[in-house]
């Protein structure tokens, strides 16, 4: 049975149609293109359009790609952990202890975005470098005799830089979840005998879980595919899968393989995200 569109339906469609059109054009179409590419083969100058899963076979069996994928996941999970763990106290502080200037605090959190992402990564290079700010200060104070080298051009530097860059994206959803907690619930828990710690574990944390899950996914998903930070501060030990995908589309001139790598990592990220979402829902997420 065909249902005729009501006035409300038409209004709704009109409202979303520009965004829908833009999304189809800029997201869905390229995605279809990438998926298609991943089943083709690159010859020297042209592309062989016979469908094949050879690219996927290479992506999933060659050690180099496995290493890069698992390193990317390891780094971005670590980044997520560090970011969410450091974002939580800040969000908690703003929500529970800042009384009058909440808006100002949220505004200050966006200050890093006033400069470009690239510039911020460069700044970390300046701070963490062999003759960088951190090493100079530590040597001057006399805490170390020679410059620390484990802080730049490796995975540590990537984690540090990404955790800083993504902090606001983790703070905001957690802050929103904490703001939504009815304060009388906390008083009720205290009234029923809970001390501060127990109350946090039984009320605050479970009710903040939707925000924590959101923060985890918001940080985890894009950082797996980040390529600027590993390229600038990661050295060779810190290279990630996105750098390889970039190389395939560029210098290596093997777009189909690059596409297969991109689709593969997308698939893995989607699976892990689903897992995070389900686990999060299980621990306190059943809030209505």
């Amino acid at each position: 049975m065909i249902r005729r569109l009501t006035k409300e339906d038409r209004q709704g469609l009109t409202l979303i149609s520009p965004t829908l059109f833009y999304t189809l054009l800029m997201l869905a179409a390229p995605l279809v293109l990438v998926v298609t590419f991943s089943f083709w083969t690159q010859n020297y100058l042209d592309i062989d359009k016979t469908l094949t899963i050879a690219n996927y076979h290479e992506a999933w069996t060659k050690p180099i790609y496995q290493v890069l994928i698992s390193r990317s996941l390891r780094i971005s999970l670590l980044v997520t952990l560090v970011t969410v763990l450091t974002a939580f106290p800040i969000a908690y502080y703003i929500s529970f202890h800042v009384k009058q200037r909440k808006a100002l605090w949220l505004f200050l959190i966006t200050v890093p975005f006033w400069t470009s992402y690239l510039l911020r990564v460069f700044l970390w290079k300046v701070i963490l470098g062999f003759n960088g700010v951190l090493n100079s200060v530590l040597m001057q104070v006399g805490l170390i005799d020679e410059p620390l080298t484990f802080i730049l051009y490796n995975a540590n530097a990537v984690v540090l830089t990404l955790a800083h860059a993504w902090a606001p994206f983790a703070i905001l959803p957690i802050f929103v979840a904490l703001e939504k907690i009815d304060r009388s619930l906390l008083e009720a828990a205290e009234d029923l005998g809970d001390g501060a710690f127990r109350r946090f574990r039984r009320i605050t944390l479970p009710l903040a879980m939707p925000g924590i899950i959101a923060a985890t996914l918001i940080v985890f998903i894009p950082t797996v595919g980040d390529f600027i930070t590993p390229k600038l501060v990661g050295g060779t030990d810190g290279l990630m899968i996105a750098n390889m995908i970039q190389i395939q589309f560029g210098k290596a001139n093997n777009a189909p393989l690059g596409a297969a790598l991109a689709i593969s990592s997308m698939f893995i990220v989607a699976l892990i995200s689903l897992g995070i979402y389900l686990i999060g829902n299980r621990f306190g997420g059943k809030v209505k």
């Binding site: 008083e187 127990r198 009710l207």
Partner: protein, 369 residues
């Protein structure tokens, strides 16, 4: 009432509270007896909720002290006090089901699981929610949430249950029903209840004693009947029910007999011993008369202690009652008179002249505003 509940459970001494420069409580002194239903009644902003939260341990007094069951509460936090609260919003934990909500405090007390289950179902039965244990919080109606909040407090077996406007979110029918149920439950359990409310009717129906509060002070602390019949001030009188205020002055005092002139009604003699001892006769400028203390004589044969003529200015029909607005000689504002609409009695029309019966017993004397 009275005799068997002599023991005091809560003593409030010179309690004062400042929020910045705002003086929320100005020297509260009161004792609350064990097993009584005590109400804090007043308009919003009078400090009643602050006082309740202070007893619970959520606010700290600026000065003065609270003792519960003889123990000073200074430095004792809310989670250590023998009180439990029913919050205005009910504060049902949204991520827990009904049984988990009710058993919340017992888990903290490390009561064994099997015992928690027994206690929870006992408490749920007490509030007529047997069989609701597995319901999710969001599946409950307003009235059910209120019952869960009550069960969650009662299951802790507190010395005092604190109720912060627990019925204000319910519709009128349900509220009326809950007033009776709450009162019956309190009496059968014998636990002290302290209720905060702005609804004078609710306070009168439920309480053993009521403290009427205005601007951070207790204006009067008395039983519902005393509060209604012998309000200490015009302000209390007009907050509790309806009161007609009439200009009056004392013409003479002879021993126990006071001769009173009320321009709108006439002269009358009343007995000094029937009045509050602390009443300052020199300052009496007005009397109060409740609407039901005046009678419109629909039957010419009916006799009264005193009568006065009046003209009906308007009527408000309430079904069981009619409120007449009656213009008296020598009184600018009409007085309100309530009459039951008994069988066969017609509603008097505006403009008709009526005879109004009254007497010494109808009057309350005021020496201040």
């Amino acid at each position: 009432m009275g005799e068997e509940m002599q023991k005091d459970i809560i003593a409030l001494t010179d309690l004062s509270k400042f929020f910045g420069s705002y003086h929320a409580l100005r020297g509260i002194n009161a004792t609350i007896r064990e097993g009584e239903f005590f109400s804090l009644l007043g308009p919003s902003g009078c400090g009643k909720t602050t006082l309740l939260r202070m007893i619970a341990g959520f606010e700290t007094p600026t000065s003065g002290g609270i003792a519960i069951d003889g123990k000073p509460m200074e430095g004792i936090s809310a989670n250590q006090r023998p009180t439990n609260m029913v919050f205005q919003s009910y504060a049902i934990f949204p991520h827990l089901n009904v049984a988990e909500n009710v058993g919340y405090g017992l888990v903290t007390r490390k009561v064994p699981k099997a015992e928690i289950a027994t206690e929870v179902s006992r408490a749920l039965a007490m509030v007529d929610l047997a069989g609701y244990a597995d319901r999710a919080a969001h599946e409950l109606s307003g009235g059910q949430r209120q019952r869960v909040a009550l069960a969650r407090a009662l299951v802790m077996r507190p010395k005092v249950v604190l109720l912060d406007e627990p019925l204000s979110a319910l519709d009128k029918k349900l509220r009326d029903q809950m007033q009776v149920e709450l009162r019956e439950l309190q009496q059968s359990l014998g636990i002290t209840f302290i209720l905060v409310t702005h609804d004078q009717e609710e306070a009168l129906i439920m309480s053993d004693r009521i403290a009427v509060m205005f601007e951070g002070e207790i204006a009067q602390l008395a039983s519902p009947e005393d509060l209604y019949r012998r309000p200490a001030s015009k302000r209390v009188a007009s907050f509790i029910g309806v009161m007609n205020f009439l200009e009056a002055r004392i013409k003479a005092v002879k021993g126990d007999i006071i001769r009173l002139n009320i321009p709108a009604l006439g002269d009358i003699e009343i007995s000094r011993s029937g009045l509050a001892p602390e009443l300052d006769l020199d300052r009496v400028r007005s009397v109060g008369v409740r609407p039901e203390m005046l009678t419109i004589a629909f039957d010419d044969a009916e006799t009264f202690e005193q009568t006065v003529e009046g003209e009906i200015a308007g009527t408000s029909y309430y079904g069981d009652m009619t409120y007449y607005s009656v213009q008296l000689q020598g009184q600018a504002d009409p007085v309100t008179i309530s009459m039951r609409n008994t069988a066969g009695r017609s509603i008097a029309k505006p403009g008709s002249k009526v005879r109004i019966g009254w007497g010494a017993e109808s009057l309350v004397l005021f020496d201040s505003d």
